[in-house]
């Protein structure tokens, strides 16, 4: 019985709440009438619909794009493409929503253009790096995990980012190279191809039997297990230098075994040349020793000393 009384007492309080609200914002308020018109409702519905359809459309495109790039592109490049497509999609949605809301886009785009120029000048380096990043990715000169050399700085490609490429050097330092610098520089990709040649420039003394040196070098390459049988080693007499005969010997190795091959071949060449008596040439200067001999005097000079030119000596 007591509970019924409580409910009955509470009911008038609940009923009185709306009346208070409409006392604050009355139905005949002019602003309200202006805001909540049928046109406004249609506009809001159009905006919501545009945004919803836009998100669905962009979402579908991104999903398809992500599947395509996963199959056809490496992870880093694919991620970059998807990210750019997302930004473009969001820009497209924003413009469509503003258009649906009846906002004058020409003025907005004009303002955006001016702002874009201002930002462009301010962020010139960043934009340049960003665009250079596209070229780096699209050219596929190197990829993550490759060993590259950029103007004397070499290392393993740690990451390819929007603004820079990060290298891990062989002494375990991280080096950030801006994409713009990479575009302007000569980049050597050392691990691009499966094989790499070891180039050995050898200077031997002039008393060396070149044929024997050639035979020894070819035998050493044949005995080295990591040296490739095909392509065959290259031997060349580079020329005659001040100190000795310059020989060139090139041996091919699998790229990942080049380092070991380099050490093995140099050690083997030194050891075998020592055994064979083939000497490496050092910078030398040949000095000839002999007695100083007075230069013979010219006949004309003697005559001149005796009496001057014949023409002036006539009787």
């Amino acid at each position: 019985m007591q509970a019924t009384t409580t409910l009955a007492e509470a009911a008038p309080e609940v009923a009185s709440a709306p009346s208070r609200f409409w006392e604050i914002i009355p139905l005949d308020n002019a602003i309200f009438e202006q805001l909540f018109t049928v046109d406004t409702a249609i506009t809001v519905a159009r905006v919501v619909l545009t945004a919803a359809l836009g998100f669905i459309f962009v979402g579908l495109v991104i999903t398809v794009l992500r599947k395509v790039v996963t199959k056809r592109m490496e992870a880093r490049s694919g991620g970059l493409v998807v990210k750019i497509a997302q930004y473009l999609g969001f820009a497209f949605i924003a413009i469509s929503v503003l258009d649906a809301a009846g906002v004058n886009l020409s003025a907005l785009l004009g303002a955006a253009g001016i702002a874009g120029i201002a930002i462009g000048f301010a962020a010139q380096t960043s934009v340049s790096n960003f665009i250079s990043g596209f070229f780096i990715v699209s050219e596929k000169t190197f990829s993550q995990g490759d060993v590259i050399d950029v103007d004397g700085t070499s290392g393993l490609v740690h990451s390819i980012d929007a603004m820079s490429v990060k290298l891990r050097t062989f002494d375990n330092r991280l080096i950030r190279i801006p994409n713009e610098t990479l575009i302007k520089s000569n980049v050597k990709t050392i691990t691009r191809f499966p094989i790499r040649r070891l180039n050995m420039d050898i200077l031997v003394t002039y008393d060396t039997d070149i044929e024997r040196a050639r035979q020894v070098l070819l035998e050493l390459a044949a005995a080295e297990p990591n040296a490739l049988r095909s392509p065959e080693p290259v031997f060349m007499v580079s020329g005659f230098r001040d100190s000795g005969i310059a020989l060139f010997f090139g041996v091919w190795f699998a790229t990942n075994e080049w380092f070991d091959g380099n050490n093995a071949m140099h050690i083997a060449v030194k050891k075998r040349f020592d055994e064979e008596g083939i000497r490496f040439a050092l910078p030398t200067r040949t000095v000839y020793q002999g007695k100083a001999v007075a230069a013979p005097k010219k006949p004309g000079a003697r005559r001149a000393a005796a009496g001057g030119p014949r023409g002036n000596n006539g009787s």
Partner: protein
């Protein structure tokens, strides 16, 4: 004496030596706590010349060591090298357009040690040299072999090439291009192949090499006649579709020897 078989652990004996060709595979057992450790190493021919073997201690890095857990034995089995094998023919020959030739090629195998079916070590039975098959831009690093090509369609007589270090491959070479091709190198991918045979003579499935304007394609060429009493000594490392078509095509489609 049979070599390719399952062996008990040499617990109560000194180092066990398996002689295969001019190589020796040494197997010993070490104790770590209450666990047995299998140690294996290969000796080069020059190390085997002396009357007495001078082996390093079992803690030396020359040994491949493997915890045996509850396993009581190991298997010595022939195996293909872990990389493709490029066989350079000692006498290259030309193949006319549209022609097909059948024959045999041979490649060197390795001696592998398996415990519970898992390969724990593999030792080449000759100095393993390497070569490039294909172009310098897109070639494949291969194990190098230089062998003869025997143009014979008949099954290989067991008396020929009865060498534990080699496996014979029956092959069919077809020139599908409009130009003559010189056959000088043939590349086989061992992980796609099995080894069947007996103690002395081993062979793989028949291989088909098709030379076309786009390159060389290798695939398995159906079944082949096997010698009586032969058994499967090594199974392919890959199976199914990958084994037959996809892998070989992807691997060799960019290569050309024409």
């Amino acid at each position: 004496m049979e070599t390719w078989k399952r062996w008990n652990l040499p617990k109560n004996e000194d180092t066990r030596v398996h002689r295969i060709g001019d190589r020796r595979i040494c197997v010993a057992v070490d104790m770590v706590g209450d666990q047995y450790v299998l140690a294996a190493m290969a000796l080069p021919p020059e190390a085997s010349r002396g009357s007495r073997l001078a082996l390093p201690s079992l803690s030396d890095k020359a040994w491949t060591r493997f915890f045996m857990d509850k396993a009581e034995d190991y298997e010595l089995a022939p195996a293909y090298p872990p990389m493709p094998t490029c066989i350079r023919l000692k006498q290259p020959f030309s193949l006319a357009p549209g022609s097909t030739v059948e024959g045999w090629i041979f490649s060197r195998i390795e001696a592998s040690i398996l415990v519970n079916g898992a390969r724990i070590a593999s030792f080449p039975l000759a100095t393993p040299y390497k070569t490039l098959y294909g172009s310098p831009e897109a070639g494949v690093i291969c194990r190098y072999d230089e062998e003869e090509f025997l143009a014979a369609a008949e099954p290989l007589a067991s008396s020929l090439h009865a060498d534990q270090r080699f496996v014979a491959h029956p092959v069919r070479l077809r020139n599908a291009s409009a130009e003559p091709v010189e056959v000088s190198d043939l590349c086989i991918y061992g992980e796609q192949l099995s080894i069947v045979g007996d103690e002395k003579t081993m062979q793989s499935e028949r291989l088909l090499f098709v030379f076309s304007s786009s390159g060389v394609r290798m695939s398995l060429d159906g079944t082949t006649l096997l010698p009586l009493g032969s058994r499967v000594m090594a199974k392919p490392a890959v199976s199914g579709e990958e084994r037959f078509i996809v892998r070989s095509f992807e691997l060799f489609k960019n290569m050309t020897r024409i």
